[in-house]
Symmetry: C2
Subunit: 657 residues, 2 copies
């Protein structure tokens, strides 16, 4: 425990730059502001390690005068005056010595005559049993010789301190006579998961129990950033046990990450434990996601305030971003490595976002190049939605105090993926269908990445109008004609030349629990009292389909319990039914099968891809069109329940805009 | 052994693209043309691994409806009509249940009221011993709830096959209910060094013996490219033993690299051994360095032609480039990873190069941004000069048939380092001095890389005139004035505004073996019969100094034995004396100390930095100027023998061009 005057005067909910500065200051005070101490390792273990001190050549390379070709080492002076007409004869073992390439020049010799340039005298077998060689011209001193130090001379600087060692660097170090080198020790990072609700991976969780995987993610981040992670067992929400675990981790590591459980109790326990063992510096940082970050310094058992502690919030997205914001810069400083930046890119925001006042927000975005512009589509902002971070191509930082950003505004995206990958990314907005997942899988083998964000069918058409996607998935019933999509395209995309290509026919129907306990037969049951419906969001094709048929049946939506409960995908509708949150919903057959529900078929509909002509004809989309023609893909889609591949690849409609 | 009709019909010295195509064909025939088979590993071991098959979510995330805040789970319907004036009271355990963030909603509830929004009735201690809560307004269904599947829904595609897994990806996989995953097995690569002249690292080599380090370098390359290297012991040049080693390595690995020794015998042994065990496909590829590459397919003990073999040439640069050209693409195909390309850059070649007819040449270059242009300075082309590969910022490919490239011509550089590193690189051409090594070391700590190529003092001034360097090291004696550099600058850089900054004063003198066995006293001894001199190259300051004093003493250069033996640095001159190749040479004091020679001081001279004004005032060079002022650097230079720091940092001269 520390006697420092700072104790208990921690800073609460402060801006990020202040938190970082405060942490940096405490680290410097503790003598932890620069690189790790050195350790000695064999050269062969040096890949990716960082030199702790300059390496000076111990020996020269080559460390002797060496033959550059197979041939005879001679004294150049002995060949002076040699010519075709008066060749010079040199006796083996007296005036000429055979050496292989790389062989040492015998003392007194200063040139090599390649074996193909001499005339042998005596046996020629292997060129070794000769008596003498005949030389037909003079040789220059040092010809065909690699002179000592040609590559490196002893005492020369091979590498300065701070060099990240690559394969060839290890070769050069070995060539300069070193078998062991001093490199920066890798920082040891202890990761302590806390929370009574957590269970270790390997067991299927009950409701209320969560598989502890933040420590896996944090450990992989630490490894990525050059540290050696050590995951500790899960600690339940108990102040004494948390404090004991933190103490142990601090004794065994250079840095401790303590991952807070989600319970109210555990949130306080971390801060209290840090206070008890040292200094709590910061409690809460004004950044989203990741608010409840804790920063502190605790004892390592022998010195107070010797080990930094970072309290990582429990939500996985918060945890991962806390790693990037707080752990990465610290490990980079300790390991002496440059920050790796795939770059920053200016893109056009595809959808308006409102920002949380007072917090710096890290907004995850999908990025694609649509025509000549980069587009950034905001992804889910939930701190628990780890798939948003998986799908993120980059981060847009929205500063504290900014109310929001309008659609179409330019934003700076800090990229997670290289521009070359993003240039091969097909951005699909609009309605989502399970076959898009399959399509993504097939395209991955053909050098294309398919990224989709579900905006509903209408949202997709609007995105195409704003040039924010390469294509849109669409299944909008036109009540007047009974056909799909065309009237909407004429209305929403009057000026955009598009190609409408069929993807699949699919069954829509009611998703109900196994064995249909409420004996639901069709839409006429929607107003039956006590039954809870789960709806799709406005603008989705399924919602338009429902509203059309409700109109046909003259059913008043306000009489349907749950009509206002909106979900964004077929699968989340199915999940709501499977979990008992709703008694039934409208969706596609495959979603019912996926979640083991019963399915009451009602309608057949066509799901199309709407593709602006410029993209239809682009090299980017070419592999996609080829996948639609491939037998493997067609088979994979046909294997899904309720799908009909008849429309697949058929051009339904073309407009000139 | 194989019965294939191809046996013995290998291709000799063919162009690179044909060799690659031939190899690819043989691999495809053997069923080795695509990715490795899968292996099952725990999720936590998955960092950087590549998915072997699509991963579909096994469970939803969250897998139950979960509270998004600490509070009370209720049925939204029970709160309808609640208001300030007529609050609704809900009894704990009957109509309201406390849950932590992340807790499961009890059956029948569909909303969470945050703890700060209720009025407690009963004890408030920890909020748990309450009897009831009072609600002052209606709540919407599903408010403050993370509904099941919000993140991922069971059966959803989490990753397609071929995904390189990052830390957050491991989190998402664990969240989707997987504890083990199928990833591509890492290819095992056996590395067999051969050569009777080789000794393992850890011993100091005698002349003619070479420390075997190619296998260290190749193993690190394999590791870098996603394989698992296995280094075998050194095999002496003996056909039977080489064949046995190759056979064993093929049984234990997916790919074998056999590194040929340099002896004439061993070069043939590899090809013979490959032929004996399977098919020799290619023997010699028209690429420089790296000519004697061998490609073949041999038996793994159970199947003929099941294991590819690459015969890697013995020179280290050839070995490393063979790795890049032949091993890397194969491992990338097997591991399903994208080629990583730091990029290609167009630069201006700083020096004319002649090319070897008939071969595709891989020319190593140093790259710097000088003003608005990129400059590529060719480095040593020797296949044994591994430092050239260490210092290389990229490779320029000179196609077979191209005679050469003139200075100033644009070339495409395939980069080894990122543009951001190259933008922080200070390119110093001209005379080399040991203090430049120290300067490089100090600058590395200040975010700058110093790259130098030794062109001699005059060469440096010419490079500045052609705008190919940021500064030049220069020590050119003006016989007329007795001063240094200024008259040369006026002659060679009449139109370039420069700042001449002093670096060091240094002693030049004769480097002789310990205890001066030939009793050399000064320049007057240069013509003594039987003594061999080692000279510096024309254009170097030391050569100009020598020639000046020879003129003063009226000594005829042609009478000096060894006058035509030119070396390019002080250290290589010292090395020549140390090795006995010469009896004495002219150089600086520090070089004699470095190689344990005696030193006969003759002259003092000033070594300056010549810096064009545009660079002098640039942010790039600012840290360099600061290093020259630093006490640590001055102390480090003073510690070198024969150096005087008096001129350091002093502006000697400024011109307006």
């Amino acid at each position: 425990m520390s006697d420092s005057g700072l104790r208990s005067f921690y800073l609460q909910d402060i801006p990020l730059d202040q938190a970082l500065e405060h942490f940096r200051h405490a680290l410097t005070e503790a003598g932890l502001g620069s690189t790790m101490p050195a350790e000695r390792i064999p050269v062969e273990a040096g890949l990716g390690r960082v030199t702790a001190e300059p390496i000076w050549a111990r020996i020269s390379s080559p460390h002797y005068h060496s033959g550059a070709m197979d041939g005879y080492a001679v004294r150049a002076a002995d060949t002076q005056g040699a010519s075709d007409r008066s060749p010079v004869q040199l006796k083996i073992g007296e005036k000429a010595w055979y050496i292989d390439t790389g062989g040492a020049l015998p003392s007194g010799t200063d040139a090599v005559i390649p074996i193909e340039s001499i005339e042998p005298i005596g046996s020629t077998k292997q060129g070794r049993a000769l008596e003498a060689i005949r030389v037909l011209g003079p040789v220059t001193p040092w010809s065909h010789v690699r002179s000592m130090g040609e590559d490196m001379v002893a005492t020369e600087l091979v590498f300065p301190a701070g060099q990240v060692l690559r394969p060839v660097d290890l070769g050069a170090i070995a060539a300069s006579g070193h078998f062991e080198i001093n490199v920066l020790r890798k920082p040891r990072v202890g990761i302590v998961p806390t929370g009574s609700e957590l269970i270790p991976p390997g067991t299927n969780p009950e409701p209320g129990r969560i598989v502890e995987f933040n420590s896996i993610m944090l450990a992989a981040q630490v490894e990525d950033w050059g540290g050696v992670p050590h995951r500790y067992p899960i600690v339940p929400d108990d102040l004494e046990r948390i404090q004991a675990a933190l103490k142990l981790a601090a004794e065994e590591n250079d840095l401790v990450l303590i991952n807070a459980g989600s319970s109210a109790g555990s949130k306080d326990f971390t801060a209290t434990a840090v206070e008890a063992l040292g200094d709590l510096l910061v409690h809460g940082v004004a950044v989203r996601p990741g608010h409840p970050v804790i920063l502190g310094m605790i004892s390592n058992g022998s010195h107070p305030l010797a080990v930094p502690v970072i309290g990582v919030p429990g939500y996985p997205v918060s945890a991962a971003l806390t790693g990037e914001i707080f752990v990465a810069p610290l490990l980079r400083r300790w390991t002496g490595s440059q920050p790796e930046r795939p770059g920053v890119l200016t893109a056009q925001l595809a959808r308006k976002v409102h920002s949380t006042a007072g917090d710096l927000e890290y907004l995850r975005v999908a990025v694609g190049r649509v025509g000549s512009r980069w587009v950034a589509a905001p992804l889910s902002r939930g701190a628990g939605v780890i798939s948003s971070l998986v799908r993120a191509d980059g981060i847009v930082q929205i500063p504290a105090g900014v109310q929001g950003i309008s659609a179409g505004e330019p934003v700076q995206v800090h990229l997670y993926r290289s521009v070359s990958i993003l240039e091969n990314t097909i951005l699909v907005l609009g309605s989502h269908d399970l076959t898009l997942d399959l399509l993504a899988q097939f395209l991955a083998q053909r050098g294309r990445r398919l990224t989709s964000a579900n905006l509903g069918s209408l949202g997709g058409l609007i995105a195409l109008r704003r040039e924010e996607a390469h294509l849109a998935g669409c299944h909008l019933l036109d009540p007047a004609s009974g056909d799909y999509n065309l009237s909407y395209i004429q209305e929403y995309l009057p000026d955009v030349p598009v190609v409408v290509m069929g993807l699949v026919g699919r069954e829509q129907g009611l998703l109900v629990p196994r064995r249909n306990p409420a004996s639901i037969a069709g839409l006429q049951d929607l107003t039956r009292p006590g039954l809870r419906f789960v709806n799709r969001q406005r603008g989705s094709g399924t919602r338009i389909l429902l509203d059309y048929h409700l109109g046909q049946l003259r059913i008043e939506p306000s009489l349907i319990q749950g009509y206002e409960h909106e979900e964004y995908t077929h699968l989340t509708v199915a999940a709501a039914v499977a979990s008992g949150a709703a008694d039934y919903g409208l969706g596609i057959h495959a979603a019912s099968v996926a979640l083991n529900l019963d399915f009451i078929p009602l309608f057949k509909e066509r799901y199309d891809l709407v593709i602006p002509r410029t993209h239809f004809e682009s090299a980017l989309l070419e592999p996609l069109l080829r996948v639609l023609e491939s037998a493997e893909f067609r088979q994979a889609v046909e294997a899904l329940p309720g799908y009909d591949i008849e429309p697949m690849g058929r051009i339904i409609y073309e407009s000139d805009g």
